[in-house]
Protein backbone atom coordinates (compact mmCIF):
# COMPACT_ATOMS: atom_id res chain seq x y z
CA UNK A 1 0.00 0.00 0.00
CA UNK A 2 2.92 2.27 0.74
CA UNK A 3 4.33 1.60 -2.74
CA UNK A 4 2.57 4.51 -4.46
CA UNK A 5 3.79 6.91 -1.83
CA UNK A 6 7.38 5.89 -2.38
CA UNK A 7 7.12 5.78 -6.17
CA UNK A 8 5.46 9.07 -7.11
CA UNK A 9 7.35 12.23 -6.21
CA UNK A 10 4.31 14.29 -5.30
CA UNK A 11 3.06 11.58 -3.00
CA UNK A 12 6.47 11.08 -1.49
CA UNK A 13 6.69 14.71 -0.45
CA UNK A 14 3.20 14.57 0.99
CA UNK A 15 4.15 11.46 2.91
CA UNK A 16 7.39 12.94 4.28
CA UNK A 17 5.63 16.18 5.20
CA UNK A 18 3.00 14.06 6.96
CA UNK A 19 5.73 12.39 9.01
CA UNK A 20 7.04 15.83 10.02
CA UNK A 21 3.71 17.26 11.12
CA UNK A 22 2.98 13.98 12.91
CA UNK A 23 5.87 14.98 15.16
CA UNK A 24 5.52 18.74 15.54
CA UNK A 25 1.75 19.02 15.89
CA UNK A 26 1.45 16.70 18.93
CA UNK A 27 4.76 18.04 20.31
CA UNK A 28 3.34 21.54 20.69
CA UNK A 29 -0.12 20.11 21.25
CA UNK A 30 1.07 18.65 24.55
CA UNK A 31 1.73 22.12 25.95
CA UNK A 32 -1.40 23.53 24.32
CA UNK A 33 -3.63 20.95 25.96
CA UNK A 34 -2.19 21.21 29.48
CA UNK A 35 -2.35 24.99 29.29
CA UNK A 36 -5.99 24.74 28.17
CA UNK A 37 -5.33 26.62 24.95
CA UNK A 38 -6.83 24.10 22.55
CA UNK A 39 -9.20 26.66 21.08
CA UNK A 40 -6.32 28.99 20.24
CA UNK A 41 -5.15 26.44 17.71
CA UNK A 42 -8.57 26.68 16.07
CA UNK A 43 -8.51 30.46 16.02
CA UNK A 44 -5.05 30.46 14.46
CA UNK A 45 -6.01 27.96 11.78
CA UNK A 46 -8.78 30.30 10.64
CA UNK A 47 -6.36 33.20 10.49
CA UNK A 48 -4.07 30.99 8.46
CA UNK A 49 -6.97 30.41 6.09
CA UNK A 50 -7.19 34.17 5.56
CA UNK A 51 -3.48 34.20 4.76
CA UNK A 52 -3.86 31.33 2.32
CA UNK A 53 -6.83 33.01 0.65
CA UNK A 54 -4.70 36.14 0.36
CA UNK A 55 -1.89 34.11 -1.25
CA UNK A 56 -4.29 32.49 -3.69
CA UNK A 57 -5.72 35.88 -4.53
CA UNK A 58 -2.26 37.23 -5.31
CA UNK A 59 -1.58 34.19 -7.48
CA UNK A 60 -4.86 34.40 -9.36
CA UNK A 61 -5.33 38.12 -9.86
CA UNK A 62 -1.79 39.43 -9.89
CA UNK A 63 0.17 36.35 -10.93
CA UNK A 64 2.43 36.78 -7.94
CA UNK A 65 4.27 33.50 -7.44
CA UNK A 66 7.00 34.54 -5.04
CA UNK A 67 4.63 34.59 -2.09
CA UNK A 68 3.08 31.14 -2.08
CA UNK A 69 -0.07 30.49 -0.04
CA UNK A 70 2.12 28.60 2.45
CA UNK A 71 4.18 31.73 3.12
CA UNK A 72 1.23 34.11 3.30
CA UNK A 73 -0.61 31.63 5.52
CA UNK A 74 2.40 31.51 7.81
CA UNK A 75 2.69 35.28 7.94
CA UNK A 76 -0.99 35.73 8.82
CA UNK A 77 -0.84 32.97 11.40
CA UNK A 78 2.21 34.45 13.14
CA UNK A 79 0.71 37.94 13.16
CA UNK A 80 -2.56 36.47 14.48
CA UNK A 81 -0.68 34.67 17.24
CA UNK A 82 1.00 37.88 18.37
CA UNK A 83 -2.42 39.57 18.39
CA UNK A 84 -3.81 36.78 20.56
CA UNK A 85 -1.04 37.22 23.13
CA UNK A 86 -1.68 40.98 23.17
CA UNK A 87 -5.44 40.51 23.54
CA UNK A 88 -4.90 38.03 26.35
CA UNK A 89 -2.90 40.73 28.09
CA UNK A 90 -5.61 43.34 27.56
CA UNK A 91 -8.46 41.11 28.76
CA UNK A 92 -6.65 39.52 31.69
CA UNK A 93 -9.78 38.30 33.43
CA UNK A 94 -11.43 37.06 30.21
CA UNK A 95 -8.51 35.68 28.25
CA UNK A 96 -10.63 33.33 26.17
CA UNK A 97 -12.31 36.30 24.53
CA UNK A 98 -9.19 36.58 22.37
CA UNK A 99 -10.27 33.40 20.61
CA UNK A 100 -13.60 34.47 19.05
CA UNK A 101 -12.08 37.84 18.17
CA UNK A 102 -9.21 36.30 16.23
CA UNK A 103 -11.30 33.45 14.83
CA UNK A 104 -14.04 35.67 13.43
CA UNK A 105 -11.44 38.11 12.15
CA UNK A 106 -9.79 35.27 10.27
CA UNK A 107 -13.01 34.00 8.73
CA UNK A 108 -14.11 37.54 7.84
CA UNK A 109 -10.89 38.28 6.01
CA UNK A 110 -11.01 34.90 4.25
CA UNK A 111 -14.49 35.59 2.92
CA UNK A 112 -13.39 39.00 1.62
CA UNK A 113 -10.28 37.67 -0.14
CA UNK A 114 -12.18 34.75 -1.62
CA UNK A 115 -14.91 36.93 -3.05
CA UNK A 116 -12.44 39.46 -4.46
CA UNK A 117 -10.80 36.55 -6.26
CA UNK A 118 -14.25 35.36 -7.46
CA UNK A 119 -13.72 32.07 -5.62
CA UNK A 120 -11.23 29.27 -6.04
CA UNK A 121 -13.24 26.18 -5.42
CA UNK A 122 -10.98 23.18 -5.61
CA UNK A 123 -7.96 24.79 -4.01
CA UNK A 124 -10.09 26.08 -1.20
CA UNK A 125 -11.65 22.68 -0.64
CA UNK A 126 -8.12 21.26 -0.38
CA UNK A 127 -7.19 23.84 2.20
CA UNK A 128 -10.29 23.23 4.26
CA UNK A 129 -10.01 19.46 4.53
CA UNK A 130 -6.45 18.73 3.47
CA UNK A 131 -5.15 17.07 0.37
CA UNK A 132 -2.86 14.19 -0.54
CA UNK A 133 -1.47 15.84 -3.62
CA UNK A 134 -0.86 19.36 -2.43
CA UNK A 135 2.70 19.33 -1.17
CA UNK A 136 5.32 20.62 -3.56
CA UNK A 137 9.02 20.05 -3.12
CA UNK A 138 9.46 23.68 -2.09
CA UNK A 139 6.74 23.40 0.52
CA UNK A 140 8.36 20.25 1.79
CA UNK A 141 11.72 21.93 2.34
CA UNK A 142 10.07 24.92 4.02
CA UNK A 143 8.18 22.63 6.37
CA UNK A 144 11.33 20.59 7.01
CA UNK A 145 13.12 23.79 8.05
CA UNK A 146 10.24 24.82 10.30
CA UNK A 147 10.13 21.38 11.88
CA UNK A 148 13.84 21.37 12.69
CA UNK A 149 13.52 24.85 14.16
CA UNK A 150 10.54 23.88 16.31
CA UNK A 151 12.05 20.66 17.62
CA UNK A 152 15.26 22.51 18.46
CA UNK A 153 13.53 25.34 20.34
CA UNK A 154 11.23 23.00 22.24
CA UNK A 155 14.22 20.82 23.14
CA UNK A 156 16.30 23.76 24.33
CA UNK A 157 13.50 25.42 26.27
CA UNK A 158 11.78 22.23 27.40
CA UNK A 159 12.29 22.73 31.12
CA UNK A 160 11.10 26.35 30.97
CA UNK A 161 8.05 25.45 28.89
CA UNK A 162 7.23 22.63 31.28
CA UNK A 163 7.71 24.76 34.40
CA UNK A 164 5.53 27.53 33.01
CA UNK A 165 2.82 25.09 32.02
CA UNK A 166 2.76 23.42 35.41
CA UNK A 167 2.86 26.49 37.64
CA UNK A 168 3.18 29.84 35.98
CA UNK A 169 3.30 31.82 39.23
CA UNK A 170 6.13 29.75 40.65
CA UNK A 171 8.06 29.83 37.39
CA UNK A 172 7.74 33.60 37.16
CA UNK A 173 8.83 34.12 40.76
CA UNK A 174 11.86 31.96 40.20
CA UNK A 175 12.91 34.29 37.40
CA UNK A 176 11.74 32.68 34.16
CA UNK A 177 10.73 35.21 31.50
CA UNK A 178 7.14 34.08 31.15
CA UNK A 179 6.01 36.72 28.67
CA UNK A 180 8.82 36.22 26.18
CA UNK A 181 8.50 32.45 26.31
CA UNK A 182 4.71 32.54 25.87
CA UNK A 183 5.12 34.74 22.85
CA UNK A 184 7.75 32.49 21.33
CA UNK A 185 5.58 29.46 22.03
CA UNK A 186 2.50 30.88 20.38
CA UNK A 187 4.53 31.90 17.34
CA UNK A 188 5.80 28.33 17.09
CA UNK A 189 2.21 27.15 17.31
CA UNK A 190 1.29 29.44 14.45
CA UNK A 191 4.09 27.97 12.34
CA UNK A 192 3.01 24.40 13.08
CA UNK A 193 -0.55 25.21 12.09
CA UNK A 194 0.50 26.81 8.83
CA UNK A 195 2.76 23.85 8.09
CA UNK A 196 0.06 21.28 8.83
CA UNK A 197 -2.78 22.85 6.90
CA UNK A 198 -1.64 21.50 3.55
CA UNK A 199 -2.30 17.98 4.71
CA UNK A 200 -4.95 18.10 7.43
CA UNK A 201 -6.81 21.24 6.43
CA UNK A 202 -7.92 24.35 8.28
CA UNK A 203 -10.91 22.76 9.96
CA UNK A 204 -9.08 19.76 11.36
CA UNK A 205 -5.58 20.94 12.15
CA UNK A 206 -6.32 21.56 15.82
CA UNK A 207 -7.51 17.95 16.05
CA UNK A 208 -4.06 16.69 15.09
CA UNK A 209 -2.59 18.86 17.84
CA UNK A 210 -4.99 17.79 20.56
CA UNK A 211 -6.49 14.33 19.93
CA UNK A 212 -3.20 12.38 20.22
CA UNK A 213 -2.52 14.29 23.44
CA UNK A 214 -5.97 13.57 24.80
CA UNK A 215 -5.37 9.88 24.10
CA UNK A 216 -1.93 9.67 25.69
CA UNK A 217 -2.95 11.75 28.69
CA UNK A 218 -5.18 8.89 29.83
CA UNK A 219 -2.42 6.32 29.97
CA UNK A 220 0.92 8.10 30.35
CA UNK A 221 2.91 8.44 33.55
CA UNK A 222 4.28 11.94 33.61
CA UNK A 223 4.70 14.67 31.06
CA UNK A 224 7.62 13.42 28.99
CA UNK A 225 6.01 10.06 28.51
CA UNK A 226 2.80 11.76 27.46
CA UNK A 227 4.72 13.80 24.92
CA UNK A 228 6.39 10.76 23.35
CA UNK A 229 3.16 8.78 23.27
CA UNK A 230 1.36 11.71 21.63
CA UNK A 231 3.96 11.80 18.89
CA UNK A 232 3.64 8.06 18.31
CA UNK A 233 -0.15 8.39 18.12
CA UNK A 234 0.21 11.40 15.83
CA UNK A 235 2.46 9.45 13.47
CA UNK A 236 0.11 6.47 13.40
CA UNK A 237 -2.81 8.79 12.62
CA UNK A 238 -1.00 10.61 9.82
CA UNK A 239 0.40 7.51 8.12
CA UNK A 240 -2.80 5.47 8.36
CA UNK A 241 -4.90 8.50 7.48
CA UNK A 242 -2.87 9.47 4.43
CA UNK A 243 -2.84 5.96 3.00
CA UNK A 244 -6.54 5.29 3.50
CA UNK A 245 -7.40 8.79 2.31
CA UNK A 246 -5.44 8.25 -0.87
CA UNK A 247 -6.89 4.86 -1.70
CA UNK A 248 -10.44 5.82 -0.83
CA UNK A 249 -10.17 9.28 -2.46
CA UNK A 250 -11.15 11.03 0.75
CA UNK A 251 -9.41 14.23 1.92
CA UNK A 252 -6.74 13.07 4.40
CA UNK A 253 -7.89 15.55 7.04
CA UNK A 254 -10.98 13.41 7.54
CA UNK A 255 -9.20 10.07 7.67
CA UNK A 256 -6.39 11.36 9.92
CA UNK A 257 -8.86 12.70 12.44
CA UNK A 258 -10.89 9.50 12.27
CA UNK A 259 -7.81 7.40 13.05
CA UNK A 260 -6.97 9.80 15.92
CA UNK A 261 -10.46 9.36 17.30
CA UNK A 262 -10.16 5.58 17.13
CA UNK A 263 -6.85 5.77 19.03
CA UNK A 264 -8.51 8.01 21.60
CA UNK A 265 -11.39 5.57 22.08
CA UNK A 266 -8.99 2.65 22.44
CA UNK A 267 -6.97 4.51 25.07
CA UNK A 268 -10.09 5.38 27.04
CA UNK A 269 -11.21 1.76 26.87
CA UNK A 270 -7.72 0.53 27.80
CA UNK A 271 -7.66 2.76 30.83
CA UNK A 272 -11.07 1.57 31.90
CA UNK A 273 -10.19 -2.07 31.41
CA UNK A 274 -6.93 -1.61 33.31
CA UNK A 275 -8.83 0.14 36.05
CA UNK A 276 -11.41 -2.59 36.42
CA UNK A 277 -8.65 -5.21 36.42
CA UNK A 278 -7.04 -3.42 39.33
CA UNK A 279 -10.38 -3.17 41.08
CA UNK A 280 -11.07 -6.86 40.63
CA UNK A 281 -7.63 -7.62 41.97
CA UNK A 282 -8.21 -5.43 44.99
CA UNK A 283 -11.59 -7.06 45.57
CA UNK A 284 -9.96 -10.48 45.48
CA UNK A 285 -7.36 -9.35 47.97
CA UNK A 286 -10.08 -8.06 50.23
CA UNK A 287 -11.94 -11.35 50.07
CA UNK A 288 -8.80 -13.14 51.20
Amino acid sequence: MLADFLEYDFLRYTFLTGLLIGIIAPLLGTFIVVRRLSLIADALSHVTLAGIAFGLLLEKKFAVTLITPLYSGMAFSVIGSIFIEKLRGVYKAYQEIAIPIILSGGVGLSVIFISIADGFNTELFNYLFGSVSAVSINDFYTILGISIFIVMIVGLLYKELFSLSFDEEHATISGIHAKAIHLLFIVLTALVIAASIRIVGVLLVSALMTLPVAASMRIAKGFKQMMFLSIIFGEIAVVAGLITGYYLSIPPGGTIVLVSLIILLISIAAKKYNFTLKKAHENNLQKK
Partner: protein, 251 residues
Protein backbone atom coordinates in the same frame (compact mmCIF):
# COMPACT_ATOMS: atom_id res chain seq x y z
CA UNK B 1 24.47 37.83 66.37
CA UNK B 2 24.22 37.51 62.62
CA UNK B 3 22.00 39.79 60.61
CA UNK B 4 18.31 38.94 60.16
CA UNK B 5 17.17 37.03 57.09
CA UNK B 6 14.30 39.45 56.49
CA UNK B 7 13.97 42.93 57.84
CA UNK B 8 11.00 45.22 57.15
CA UNK B 9 11.15 48.83 58.21
CA UNK B 10 8.05 50.97 58.43
CA UNK B 11 6.25 49.14 55.63
CA UNK B 12 2.87 50.33 54.40
CA UNK B 13 0.93 48.96 51.48
CA UNK B 14 -2.44 49.72 49.92
CA UNK B 15 -4.33 48.12 47.04
CA UNK B 16 -5.74 51.14 45.27
CA UNK B 17 -7.10 53.16 48.19
CA UNK B 18 -7.45 50.32 50.66
CA UNK B 19 -4.65 50.20 53.22
CA UNK B 20 -3.78 46.59 53.96
CA UNK B 21 -0.52 47.01 55.85
CA UNK B 22 0.10 49.97 58.11
CA UNK B 23 3.64 50.80 59.27
CA UNK B 24 4.94 47.32 59.83
CA UNK B 25 8.31 46.82 61.49
CA UNK B 26 9.59 43.33 61.84
CA UNK B 27 12.55 41.01 61.49
CA UNK B 28 13.01 37.32 60.97
CA UNK B 29 16.18 36.24 62.78
CA UNK B 30 18.42 33.70 61.10
CA UNK B 31 17.38 30.16 62.01
CA UNK B 32 13.95 31.18 63.30
CA UNK B 33 10.78 29.19 62.79
CA UNK B 34 8.29 32.00 62.65
CA UNK B 35 4.55 31.47 62.74
CA UNK B 36 2.52 34.24 61.10
CA UNK B 37 -1.04 34.33 62.41
CA UNK B 38 -3.97 36.59 61.69
CA UNK B 39 -7.54 36.72 60.43
CA UNK B 40 -8.41 36.21 56.76
CA UNK B 41 -7.80 39.43 54.91
CA UNK B 42 -5.34 40.55 57.59
CA UNK B 43 -2.61 41.07 55.02
CA UNK B 44 -0.48 37.95 55.51
CA UNK B 45 -0.21 37.04 51.85
CA UNK B 46 0.43 40.68 50.98
CA UNK B 47 3.28 40.79 53.48
CA UNK B 48 4.81 37.71 51.86
CA UNK B 49 4.50 39.23 48.41
CA UNK B 50 6.40 42.25 49.68
CA UNK B 51 9.16 40.01 51.05
CA UNK B 52 9.35 38.22 47.71
CA UNK B 53 9.51 41.50 45.83
CA UNK B 54 6.29 40.72 43.95
CA UNK B 55 4.80 43.96 45.30
CA UNK B 56 6.60 47.22 46.00
CA UNK B 57 5.86 48.90 49.34
CA UNK B 58 4.23 52.34 49.26
CA UNK B 59 6.40 53.30 52.18
CA UNK B 60 9.33 51.75 54.01
CA UNK B 61 12.05 49.33 53.00
CA UNK B 62 12.61 45.59 52.85
CA UNK B 63 15.97 43.91 53.32
CA UNK B 64 16.51 40.34 52.26
CA UNK B 65 19.53 38.30 53.41
CA UNK B 66 21.22 41.50 54.46
CA UNK B 67 20.77 43.58 51.29
CA UNK B 68 18.07 45.88 49.90
CA UNK B 69 15.43 43.95 48.01
CA UNK B 70 15.80 46.05 44.87
CA UNK B 71 19.30 44.65 44.37
CA UNK B 72 18.51 41.11 45.45
CA UNK B 73 19.46 38.50 42.85
CA UNK B 74 19.76 35.24 44.73
CA UNK B 75 16.13 34.20 44.35
CA UNK B 76 16.97 30.52 44.48
CA UNK B 77 18.02 31.04 48.12
CA UNK B 78 14.38 31.79 48.93
CA UNK B 79 11.86 28.95 48.77
CA UNK B 80 8.15 29.72 48.49
CA UNK B 81 5.10 27.49 48.71
CA UNK B 82 2.17 29.62 47.66
CA UNK B 83 -1.32 29.56 49.12
CA UNK B 84 -2.44 28.53 45.66
CA UNK B 85 0.09 25.71 45.38
CA UNK B 86 -2.42 23.01 46.09
CA UNK B 87 -5.10 24.45 43.87
CA UNK B 88 -3.09 23.38 40.80
CA UNK B 89 -4.77 21.39 38.09
CA UNK B 90 -5.01 17.94 39.70
CA UNK B 91 -5.18 16.23 36.35
CA UNK B 92 -1.86 17.65 35.20
CA UNK B 93 0.17 14.75 33.90
CA UNK B 94 3.45 15.26 35.74
CA UNK B 95 5.39 12.89 37.95
CA UNK B 96 6.70 13.88 41.37
CA UNK B 97 10.20 13.95 39.87
CA UNK B 98 9.09 16.30 37.10
CA UNK B 99 7.33 18.65 39.53
CA UNK B 100 10.32 18.86 41.84
CA UNK B 101 12.60 19.43 38.86
CA UNK B 102 10.78 22.70 38.11
CA UNK B 103 12.38 24.09 41.26
CA UNK B 104 15.74 23.92 39.49
CA UNK B 105 14.64 25.28 36.12
CA UNK B 106 15.57 28.92 36.63
CA UNK B 107 18.69 28.01 38.55
CA UNK B 108 20.06 25.81 35.77
CA UNK B 109 19.36 28.51 33.19
CA UNK B 110 18.20 28.77 29.60
CA UNK B 111 19.39 26.35 26.93
CA UNK B 112 20.87 23.98 29.49
CA UNK B 113 19.83 20.51 30.47
CA UNK B 114 19.61 18.81 33.85
CA UNK B 115 22.77 16.81 34.50
CA UNK B 116 23.43 13.92 36.86
CA UNK B 117 24.20 16.27 39.72
CA UNK B 118 20.86 18.07 39.28
CA UNK B 119 19.01 14.78 39.15
CA UNK B 120 20.64 13.68 42.39
CA UNK B 121 19.57 16.91 44.04
CA UNK B 122 15.99 16.31 42.91
CA UNK B 123 16.02 12.77 44.34
CA UNK B 124 17.55 14.03 47.59
CA UNK B 125 14.86 16.67 47.99
CA UNK B 126 12.14 14.07 47.41
CA UNK B 127 13.83 11.82 49.97
CA UNK B 128 13.99 14.65 52.51
CA UNK B 129 10.24 15.05 52.52
CA UNK B 130 9.84 11.29 52.78
CA UNK B 131 8.26 10.74 49.38
CA UNK B 132 10.95 8.70 47.64
CA UNK B 133 8.69 5.76 46.87
CA UNK B 134 6.38 8.09 44.92
CA UNK B 135 9.12 9.57 42.71
CA UNK B 136 7.61 8.36 39.45
CA UNK B 137 3.98 8.60 40.46
CA UNK B 138 1.72 11.24 38.87
CA UNK B 139 1.27 14.08 41.34
CA UNK B 140 -2.49 14.07 40.82
CA UNK B 141 -2.68 10.59 42.40
CA UNK B 142 -1.31 11.82 45.75
CA UNK B 143 -3.26 13.10 48.74
CA UNK B 144 -3.34 16.81 49.61
CA UNK B 145 -0.78 16.40 52.38
CA UNK B 146 1.57 14.46 50.13
CA UNK B 147 1.24 17.08 47.41
CA UNK B 148 2.26 19.77 49.90
CA UNK B 149 5.37 17.76 50.71
CA UNK B 150 6.21 17.67 47.03
CA UNK B 151 5.90 21.45 46.80
CA UNK B 152 8.27 21.76 49.73
CA UNK B 153 10.68 19.41 48.00
CA UNK B 154 10.49 21.68 44.94
CA UNK B 155 11.77 24.54 47.12
CA UNK B 156 14.39 22.38 48.83
CA UNK B 157 16.24 21.48 45.63
CA UNK B 158 17.87 24.88 45.70
CA UNK B 159 19.09 24.63 49.30
CA UNK B 160 17.10 27.69 50.37
CA UNK B 161 18.11 29.74 53.38
CA UNK B 162 14.57 30.96 53.85
CA UNK B 163 11.44 28.95 53.21
CA UNK B 164 8.10 30.76 53.14
CA UNK B 165 4.89 28.74 53.33
CA UNK B 166 1.49 30.39 52.92
CA UNK B 167 -1.25 28.30 54.57
CA UNK B 168 0.18 24.99 53.43
CA UNK B 169 -1.99 22.81 55.68
CA UNK B 170 -5.44 23.97 54.59
CA UNK B 171 -7.44 20.88 53.71
CA UNK B 172 -4.90 18.46 55.18
CA UNK B 173 -6.17 16.09 57.87
CA UNK B 174 -4.98 16.28 61.48
CA UNK B 175 -2.62 13.30 61.34
CA UNK B 176 -0.83 14.63 58.28
CA UNK B 177 -0.66 18.15 59.66
CA UNK B 178 1.32 16.74 62.59
CA UNK B 179 3.72 14.92 60.27
CA UNK B 180 4.00 18.06 58.21
CA UNK B 181 5.09 20.10 61.24
CA UNK B 182 7.60 17.42 62.18
CA UNK B 183 9.08 17.73 58.70
CA UNK B 184 9.31 21.53 59.04
CA UNK B 185 10.85 21.15 62.46
CA UNK B 186 13.50 18.83 61.03
CA UNK B 187 14.32 21.21 58.18
CA UNK B 188 14.67 24.02 60.68
CA UNK B 189 16.80 21.97 63.09
CA UNK B 190 18.98 19.91 60.81
CA UNK B 191 19.38 22.16 57.81
CA UNK B 192 19.10 25.48 59.61
CA UNK B 193 16.50 26.70 57.15
CA UNK B 194 14.74 29.82 58.41
CA UNK B 195 10.98 29.30 58.16
CA UNK B 196 8.09 31.71 57.81
CA UNK B 197 4.81 29.85 58.05
CA UNK B 198 1.35 31.36 57.64
CA UNK B 199 -1.22 29.23 59.38
CA UNK B 200 -4.45 29.10 61.33
CA UNK B 201 -3.40 26.07 63.39
CA UNK B 202 -2.69 28.16 66.49
CA UNK B 203 -2.51 25.07 68.68
CA UNK B 204 0.09 23.25 66.63
CA UNK B 205 2.23 26.19 65.55
CA UNK B 206 2.84 27.33 69.14
CA UNK B 207 4.34 23.89 69.86
CA UNK B 208 6.84 24.14 67.03
CA UNK B 209 7.62 27.77 66.28
CA UNK B 210 10.38 29.84 67.87
CA UNK B 211 8.58 33.13 67.17
CA UNK B 212 4.96 34.13 66.69
CA UNK B 213 3.70 37.20 64.87
CA UNK B 214 0.07 38.31 64.66
CA UNK B 215 -0.91 40.53 61.78
CA UNK B 216 -4.12 42.39 61.14
CA UNK B 217 -3.25 45.49 59.17
CA UNK B 218 -0.71 46.31 61.88
CA UNK B 219 1.48 44.00 63.93
CA UNK B 220 -0.50 43.13 67.04
CA UNK B 221 1.89 40.72 68.62
CA UNK B 222 5.51 39.73 68.14
CA UNK B 223 7.03 37.36 70.66
CA UNK B 224 7.66 33.83 71.85
CA UNK B 225 5.02 31.09 71.59
CA UNK B 226 4.81 30.88 75.41
CA UNK B 227 3.93 34.54 75.58
CA UNK B 228 1.33 34.05 72.87
CA UNK B 229 -0.36 31.14 74.60
CA UNK B 230 -0.42 33.03 77.89
CA UNK B 231 -2.43 35.83 76.30
CA UNK B 232 -6.00 35.99 77.48
CA UNK B 233 -8.90 35.48 75.13
CA UNK B 234 -9.73 39.09 75.66
CA UNK B 235 -6.31 40.21 74.37
CA UNK B 236 -6.70 37.98 71.34
CA UNK B 237 -10.15 39.20 70.47
CA UNK B 238 -8.65 42.66 70.17
CA UNK B 239 -6.22 41.35 67.51
CA UNK B 240 -8.83 39.53 65.56
CA UNK B 241 -11.58 42.06 65.98
CA UNK B 242 -13.94 39.38 67.22
CA UNK B 243 -14.06 36.83 70.07
CA UNK B 244 -11.75 33.85 69.62
CA UNK B 245 -11.35 30.46 71.17
CA UNK B 246 -7.81 29.28 71.57
CA UNK B 247 -7.78 25.78 70.19
CA UNK B 248 -5.24 23.56 71.86
CA UNK B 249 -4.82 19.98 70.84
CA UNK B 250 -4.72 17.41 73.60
CA UNK B 251 -2.35 14.55 73.02
Amino acid sequence: MSEPVVSMKNISYAYDQKTVLNHINFEIPKGAFMGLLGPNGGGKTTLIKLILGLLKPDEGSVQLLGGPIGKFKDWNRIGFVSQKANSFNKGFPATVFEVVSTGLTANVGYFRFFNKNHKEKIIQAIDQVGMLEYTHENIGNLSGGQQQRIFIARSLVNDPQLLILDEPTVGVDYENVQRFYELLHRLNDERQITLLLVTHDTGTITEHATDIVCLNKTLHFHGKPEEYTSLSEKDLSVFYGHPVNIVTHNH
